[in-house]
Amino acid sequence: MSGKPPSEHFRLLYFASAASFTRKSSDTFPAPLPISDLFSVLEKKYSGITKAVLDSCAVTVNLEYVDVEEESGKEKAGVVIKEGDEVAIIPPVSSG
């Protein structure tokens, strides 16, 4: 899961139902990528993931929470994922 992504890429970690949906614990994608484009990149690769997982999940960049909806609403200068970043998809776990 961990390890350095190839150059000009970032690593995306999948937790809980995101890992179940993609059947993976991580992927690498080309960087830079505006965070507002992250969901459409994922939807292209994993059809249906937006509705099933992404709409209700938390997203972090380098272990910091990022509000994708808020970032997407910005005209410009939203968060951009950089080369070597660790991004994570964290859906709520509700069992116990």
Partner: protein, 536 residues
């Protein structure tokens, strides 16, 4: 949100036998189990007393012989150990800590000699010390849900000496709970989880006051119930109750620890800490982090998704530790305890992730704190005690947690009907089991083939190709063969049937003829055809 018992009032564990009982066989079974257990404890105590008396009498008579006196009178109770700490020192210490010896509720701010012994190992930890222990003794915690999270959390909090522990759960103990729900044992199968937990906790620490609530948390009672406690632990198991516990704790002005676990993942957060009040905006709440509930059809229970015992166990244990930190915070200026950095900083909002098979297994996410316009905890909150009480706020609708009605597929047959098809000669067919491979490997009907629904929904064309290949490669199967679908409970097979039906337009050449799916799935098969088929 169902099964609400009418015991709206708190019932002390000690009083409950005479106060209330379900007038049902459950009550009889539960009482029998409790009496059997208590009789065993009583017999043990009697033996211990006999031994102790014999030993004491032996010593006193030996002493008397040595002194030449005739003090041979046997004693009938334990000797009271003499108090050997300096009364003055202790009083001045209590004064310095600015703790009342007895507060307005008559609670004592002293430890008994037994408590010094019982809590000795944590008393000498500077983070706890006498102040911390006294705070714990006078604190109360409400544990919502006595399952995989609630059991370890309650165990450590009872062990640590939290004075009052309330337990809420309307569920009964099942065999499939025992691999992770540590307070429950086989003799409690079919009986209430709350009673099972209290008996076990009493055996660990009878000094604690246990309050039992025999129902699932109800939104009408939630805020009122929480007001009676200092801290809330969310040990529930579904999205709707997670939002309810968070909303109610904010309204009741109580801090809360929430944790969850599924499969090999766990999450932990401390919410509404410090609590929202007149003079403080309060900490963030569950809605600040997860404003939208995941779609109901993607939410799995432990029964559906599975859970590893140590994963949920570690989350429950971490909850207990966060609870201790909240209930006995590090004092800022206290000569008896060294100040640490943490005591001076406010804890940054964070979400702890545990992912058992990842490397590293723990990750701490830095959160943003309160969400602007949060309907629960912001200045413009719209969720009120009234909206909870009047049930105008519908948690099930918000989480759509009622099972979504699957679109009706044209052909469903019962397990019984399908068993007739299997028996009839000259009715060749294919049975496709759409459960995940790991479940198919545990048990399946003879001759069935595995094609998980997750694959069918992800790549339907490839699934049809796979079926066609199977039919082509087997000379015993003719084109146009009948196809039946089955799963664990009859939900996924129906979704798969609908998927195949939708695709029949684009793939009219498929080599099978979809006849339908088996209503109720393998559970129905076990119930109405083969009772020996494994239940897992």
């Amino acid at each position: 949100m169902t099964g609400i018992e009418t015991f709206g009032e708190d019932v002390d564990f000690i009083q409950k036998a005479s106060l209330k009982m379900h007038l049902s066989n459950d009550a009889v079974l539960r009482l029998r189990a409790q009496i059997a257990s208590l009789e065993g404890t009583l017999a043990d105590l009697k033996t211990q007393l006999q031994d102790a008396e014999a030993y004491y009498n032996q010593i006193t008579s030996a002493k008397a012989d040595a002194n030449g006196h005739s003090q041979t009178q046997p004693i009938s109770s334990y000797p009271v150990p003499s108090v050997n700490y300096n009364e003055k020192t202790f009083e001045s210490l209590v004064e310095q800590l600015k703790l009342p010896q007895e507060d307005k509720w008559g609670r004592s701010w002293e430890l008994t000699s037994e408590e010094h012994k019982r809590y000795g190992r944590q008393l000498i930890i500077p983070e706890i010390g006498l102040t911390g222990q006294l705070r714990l003794k006078n604190a109360s915690v409400l544990i919502v849900g006595v399952g995989g999270l609630g059991c370890p959390a309650a165990t450590y909090l009872a062990g640590a000496g939290v004075g009052k522990i309330g337990l809420i759960d309307g569920d009964t103990v099942e065999l499939s709970n025992l691999h992770r729900q540590l307070l429950h044992t086989e003799k409690w199968l079919g009986l209430g989880k709350v009673d099972s937990a209290v008996e076990n906790l009493m055996a660990r620490n009878p000094e604690i006051k246990y309050i039992t609530h025999y129902y699932y948390l109800d939104q009408k009672l939630a805020v009122e119930t929480m007001r009676k406690y200092d801290l809330i632990l969310d040990c529930t198991d579904r999205p709707s109750t997670r939002y309810l516990v968070s909303d109610a704790a904010v309204l009741a002005g109580k801090p809360m620890v929430t944790a969850s676990a599924l499969r090999t993942d766990g999450q932990l957060m401390v919410l509404n800490n410090p609590p929202k009040g007149h003079d403080h905006p309060g900490g963030f709440c569950y809605r600040c982090v997860f404003p939208k509930s995941p779609p109901a059809e993607t939410v799995l229970s432990c029964g559906e998704g599975g859970i590893l015992g140590p994963v949920v166990g570690v989350m429950g244990v971490l909850m207990a530790m966060e609870a201790l930190k909240i209930l006995s915070p590090l004092p800022q200026e206290n000569e008896y305890q060294y100040p640490t950095e943490a005591s001076n900083d406010t804890v940054p909002p964070s979400l702890l992730l545990y992912s058992a098979y990842s490397n590293p297994p723990f990750r701490s996410i830095k959160l943003r704190g309160k969400r602007k316009g949060c309907p629960s905890c912001s200045d413009t909150a719209t969720i009120t005690e009234e909206s909870l009480g009047s049930a105008s706020l519908d948690y099930d609708a918000f989480c759509a947690s009622r099972s979504p009605a699957a679109p009706i597929s044209a052909n469903r047959i019962s397990a019984k009907e399908y068993s007739e098809i299997r028996k009839a000669t000259g009715s060749p067919h294919i049975l496709v089991d759409v459960r995940e491979k790991v479940q198919f490997d545990i048990c399946h009907l003879k001759g069935s083939m595995n094609l998980p629904y997750s694959e069918i929904s992800r790549n339907p064309e490839a699934s049809i190709d796979k079926l066609d290949d199977t039919i082509t490669s087997d000379p015993n199967i003719a084109d146009g063969v009948s196809l039946y679908l089955i799963c664990r409970y009859g939900n996924d097979s129906q979704l798969a049937a609908n998927k195949f039906k939708d695709l029949s337009r684009s793939r009219p050449d498929a080599k099978y003829d979809l006849m339908g799916d088996i209503s109720g799935g393998l559970r129905a098969w076990r119930q109405s055809v083969d009772p020996n088929f494994p239940e897992y």
